[in-house]
Every structure is written in structure tokens, then in C-alpha cells.
């Protein structure tokens, strides 16, 4: 084994370089001037130029879009987790006719990505008078987030020992009381995992906001990045600064919750 060691580290290093290089390029590119970029497209900042970042950070547009993205992501997450845990509780701990059908209904949602339903969804949202508003994005996102949530949470809730429910029953705590006092606290890890998946999904989503939101004031970050990139198409450095700043929230979020995101994804897939 020892002979292979240096090669292993070398390959790992190259790999990390390839994966992270472009990200570092975006960030450092924002610290350069356009003439630096033109002269040497792949170089480092020399001297460091902070104007691009400060001009983005002092513009109202950027913060407006951060706020919109946050509102949409938080509302989506709350909605998905609340509705999801309620439905999952029923699927996991009640026995009734049609339970299999109900599970199949939600599971079938995995086969319907937003892409397929986007045109009629736009028309539906328009008829509800929600085009151009954030709820017009939030409501469909909640619905499309439910399948993953249910599929992750059902086994999770089912794993809560039966004895706890019996003990709760002896203490005269009904199923609803059991749900509130035992199931919710015990399933917090599962709720966090599904919540993070919903949050990141919403933060990055592009197609739905593209259809629903047309006014700059309601743009979420992905729309904002695109609009900014086409508006300042000649100002590469500024676009890079804007892009790297809009990347930061997702990266921070990811580094905080890396284990849960990875665990959630692998759990959902292996299921």
C-alpha cells in the first residue's frame, strides 16, 4: 500500500484543484480590473481591486434579491417541512385503507420535476393572480418539495419505538398529543435534513422564478445573476464579483450543514 501513497495524494490534490479552481477564479476575478482580466485572463489580482465588490455590496439591487431569495427559501422550507411531517406521520403511524395509494401518490411526485409542469403551472399561478409575486413561487415549490420530504420522513417516523406510543397512551396522551410532544422533538434531525434540502433547492431554483417573476424588484438571486450578467456583459470583473457574492450564502449554508445535506441525499437515494 505504501508505494501507492504519494500517487493517491497527488491525484487527490489535482482533483481538488479542478473542482475548486473555477470557484477560486470567480472569487479572485472579482478583485481584478477588466483590463487585468483582458491582459491576462487567468492571472491573480495585481493590485487587488475592491471596487467591484463594494459597488455590488452598496447597490440596493443585490440586497433586494438576497431578501427575496431568503423570503422564498424560508417560506418554502417552513411549508414543506410542516406539511411534510404531518402527512408523513399519518403514513408512518396510522393504518387505514388507501395508505399505500397515498404513499404512491407522493412518491410519484419524484417523476414530475417542475420542468414538465412549468407551462400549465404558470397558467395556474396566473389564474390565481399570483404572477409576479413571491407566493406564486413559494406555493408550487412547497408542493414539489413534498415527495422528497415524505420519502425521507416516513421511515424516520416509523422508527420511533412503539413502546413510546404505548407509554404516551398510558399517560393519557392521544395520538395528536403524542405527535406534538414526542414525535416532533424526536424527529428534529429528520426535519432539519429535509428542511435543508428544501432550502438549498429553493435558493438555487431558476426555472420557476423565471416563469413567475418578471419585475426586477421581485427577482430572486439566480434571476438577478442572469440579469446582472447580461446588463453588465462587458464588465466581466463586476459580474464575477456579483456572482461570487451570490454564491456565498449557499456555500456558508453548505459548510454548516454538510453532513446533513450529504446524509439526507444519500438517505433519500438509498431509501
Amino acid at each position: 500500500m505504501s508505494a501507492r501513497r504519494p500517487i493517491v495524494y497527488f491525484v487527490a490534490l489535482v482533483l481538488v484543484g479542478l473542482m475548486i479552481g473555477p470557484v477560486l477564479y470567480i472569487i479572485t476575478g472579482g478583485f481584478r480590473t477588466n483590463s487585468q482580466i483582458t491582459v491576462n485572463p487567468a492571472g491573480l489580482p495585481d493590485p487587488w481591486e475592491f471596487g467591484n465588490y463594494t459597488s455590488v455590496l452598496t447597490s440596493g439591487v443585490f440586497w433586494r434579491q438576497i431578501a427575496n431569495s431568503t423570503i422564498v427559501a424560508v417560506a418554502t422550507t417552513l411549508g414543506v417541512v410542516t406539511l411534510g411531517v404531518m402527512a408523513s406521520y399519518v403514513l408512518a403511524r396510522y393504518r387505514f385503507r388507501g395508505r399505500g395509494a397515498m404513499y404512491a401518490l407522493f412518491a410519484s411526485g419524484l417523476m414530475f420535476p417542475v420542468t414538465v409542469a412549468i407551462t400549465p403551472l404558470y397558467i395556474l399561478v396566473k389564474n390565481l393572480g399570483l404572477v409576479g409575486t413571491l407566493p406564486g413561487v413559494i406555493l408550487p415549490q412547497i408542493a414539489f418539495g413534498l415527495p422528497t420530504t415524505v420519502i425521507i420522513l416516513v421511515p424516520f417516523l416509523r422508527a420511533i419505538p412503539k413502546e413510546l406510543e404505548e407509554a404516551a397512551a398510558i399517560d393519557r396522551c392521544g395520538r395528536i398529543g403524542f405527535f406534538w410532544r414526542m414525535v416532533l422533538p424526536l424527529s428534529v434531525p429528520g426535519l432539519i435534513t429535509t428542511g435543508i434540502l428544501a432550502f438549498v433547492g429553493s435558493w438555487n431554483s431558476y426555472l420557476l422564478p423565471l416563469f413567475i417573476l418578471s419585475d426586477q424588484d421581485t427577482f430572486t438571486l439566480p434571476l438577478g445573476v442572469q440579469a446582472f450578467a447580461s446588463q453588465y456583459s462587458v464588465d466581466t470583473a463586476k459580474v464575477l464579483a456579483f456572482t461570487s457574492l451570490s454564491m456565498i450564502p449557499a456555500l456558508v449554508f453548505f459548510s454548516l450543514f454538510e453532513r446533513r445535506i450529504v446524509g439526507g441525499l444519500t438517505g433519500a437515494v438509498k431509501g
Binding site: 396510522y94 403551472l121 395520538r175 431554483s205 459548510s255
Partner: protein
């Protein structure tokens, strides 16, 4: 799909005969043995708990999909009630439009190339990272970073870097490979492979993470036993790791196929609405958006959505039937 997600104890079934209490009207009844069938109080609980989710799901997922089927039969600009019923005309147009067929071919290439390119790379990387080494956890986090960044940002950044005067050509020049400089984005012979490169960069980390998780579920006793029997490292990987990882690989391939069929964001961002077809990177989804929404032909756009859906569904069902059968006995049909 059952088990795993909940960790240990997933064999406990909530329904195994037990004692339960009705909670009707807030007056807790003394517990009594469960009867067959369920009472109205429980029905109420079930309805109250699952009702909102079901309504949301039916309203915003199932209903629009059905609606697409309906609108697809009309020539319709998206205003008022569709009246101009054209039967199957939209579908005839779609299947005869060379632009759609080109997009379909591109999707096919992307589906196959994604698996053929990303699969072996991810497998190799997962084997590499599955060994004990310093900085392992840091590496795992770092290779996953591109997956977390949105396709819009990935697309914007790569389209800047891949311009003829961009960073990629700059680096090639810098390391003395100036002769390899290319017009990566608009050369139709090259563009789809550029797209494949970006897709691999963004999604290979996801495959690696899945494979690693799969490998860590393989009991170490198996490779230890193989080592005792004198098996080499590669023999162990080939005879033990790979076969035991097969279920994970099959599920990853399924997700990859579905994702490739629905691909939209990256292509639309990098190649825009019109360039995609001339650069040879259009997909069914970008075709749907340009020819449907952007052209104001909502009826037609819906028909494209239906075609896209039917193709995805057929492929998904065939895959489930013939490939996934062993792994998830009817995960999508039977469930729990």
C-alpha cells in the same frame, strides 16, 4: 424505498398490534384493544394531518400535469379559455420539427455520456477517497462544492471562463498548450462536449458522495477475509466492492438519466434562448421554453411538456422494470 433513512429500528411497524387511545373531543378514553377498521376520530386526524399536503400536491403538481395534457390539444396564446381545438396537430408539428428532433438527440447524447463519463470517474474517485488518508473529510467537502452552487452561477461563471478570450484559453496559452485554444461555446462540433465537461464538473461530486456512502455500508470483514485469502487490492475491489455497490450505482444512474432528460438551467444560461440550437446544445426543455413561452404559443409549449413527460416516464418505467427491480421492489408503485 424504506429503511435506511430512519436508521436503525426501521423494522418496527407502527401498526403491529398494540394499544391506542382515541382522542375524540379532548376526553381521553381509557385505552382499549384496537378493533378492525378505524373510528371517526382517527379518520378526522388522518384528514386533518394529511389533507393540506395532499391538496397542495394535487393542486400544484398533479393538476398542472393533467392541464398540460388538456392545453396540448389547443392552439392557444395563453389568454382566456382555449377554444381553437387542433387535436393532435401540435404533436404532429413537434415530432416533425427538426429542431425538436435535434434537441431530442442532444438529450440522448447527454443521458448516455453523463453515465459513461461520470460513472467511471466517480467510481475511481470514490475508491481513492475510501482509503484512509489525511484530509479525507476536507476533500470530500471540497469535491461536493460545485454540486451546491446553483446551475445559474455555474453557467454564468463557465460562460465567462470559456469565452475565446477567457480564462480557460488563457491557462492553455500559459502552460504552452496554446494550440489547443478553442471556441468552446459556439463551435457546434465542440459545444455539446463543453456542456458535458461542465455537467461532469458540477455533478461528479454527487456521484462520488453516493458511491462513498455505499462503500461504507459494505462490511469491512468481507475485504479482510479476501485479504486473508490472498486477494490483491484490485481483486477485492472488483469481486467484492463493485458487486455490492451495484444497487447504489443503478440508483445513481436512474437519477442521472432523469436529470439529463430534464436539463434546462445550464444550457439556457450559457447558450441563451437562440444560440442553443445553432451551437448544438438545445435540449427538449429549452426547446419547450423557447417555442412555447417565449414565442407565446402556450398550447404548443404544453404539448412539448407532454412529450417530454411521456418520454421521461417511459424511460423511468422501463428502467424500473428491468434495472431497478432487484433493488427497490416497486418503490414507486407500492411504497412502504
Amino acid at each position: 424505498m424504506s429503511g435506511e433513512g430512519g436508521g436503525k429500528g426501521s423494522t418496527v411497524t407502527a401498526e403491529s398490534a398494540g394499544i391506542q387511545v382515541r382522542n375524540g373531543g379532548g376526553a381521553p378514553a381509557p385505552f382499549r384493544p384496537r378493533r378492525r377498521g378505524i373510528g371517526w376520530a382517527q379518520r378526522l386526524e388522518i384528514a386533518a394531518l394529511s389533507g393540506p399536503a395532499i391538496l397542495m400536491f394535487l393542486g400544484f403538481v398533479i393538476f398542472p400535469v393533467l392541464l398540460a395534457g388538456y392545453y396540448g390539444f389547443y392552439k392557444w396564446k395563453g389568454y382566456g379559455v382555449p377554444t381553437n381545438f387542433v387535436g393532435l396537430d401540435n404533436y404532429k408539428t413537434i415530432l416533425q420539427d427538426s429542431a425538436f428532433l435535434a434537441a431530442l438527440v442532444h438529450n440522448g447524447v447527454i443521458v448516455v455520456a453523463s453515465i459513461v463519463i461520470q460513472g467511471p470517474i466517480a467510481l475511481g474517485l470514490a475508491l481513492l477517497l475510501n482509503q484512509k488518508m489525511r484530509g479525507q473529510s476536507v476533500i470530500r467537502v471540497l469535491i461536493f462544492v460545485p454540486y451546491v452552487i446553483s446551475e445559474v452561477i455555474v453557467g454564468t461563471a463557465w460562460s465567462l471562463m470559456l469565452q475565446t478570450s477567457g480564462a480557460v484559453n488563457g491557462v492553455l496559452q500559459g502552460i504552452g498548450l496554446g494550440s489547443l485554444k478553442q471556441d468552446w461555446l459556439s463551435n457546434p462540433k465542440l459545444a455539446i462536449w463543453t456542456l458535458m465537461f461542465i455537467l461532469t464538473w458540477k455533478y461528479v461530486g454527487f456521484a462520488v458522495i453516493l458511491f462513498l456512502a455505499g462503500m461504507q455500508n459494505i462490511p469491512p470483514e468481507l475485504s479482510e477475509a479476501a485479504a486473508v485469502d490472498g486477494a490483491s487490492y484490485w481483486q477485492t475491489q472488483r469481486r467484492i466492492t463493485l458487486p455490492l455497490l451495484a444497487p447504489t450505482i443503478r440508483i445513481w444512474a436512474f437519477l442521472s438519466i432523469i436529470g439529463a432528460l430534464q436539463l434546462f438551467d445550464l444550457v439556457y444560461i450559457i447558450w441563451g434562448q437562440y444560440v442553443a440550437s445553432t451551437a448544438g446544445t438545445s435540449t427538449m426543455a429549452t426547446y419547450m421554453v423557447t417555442e412555447g413561452r417565449n414565442a407565446g404559443n402556450y398550447g404548443y409549449g404544453n404539448a412539448v411538456a407532454v412529450v417530454l413527460f411521456v418520454i421521461s416516464l417511459i424511460i423511468a418505467l422501463l428502467y424500473q422494470r428491468f434495472v431497478l427491480r432487484r433493488d427497490t421492489e416497486g418503490a414507486l408503485t407500492e411504497g412502504t
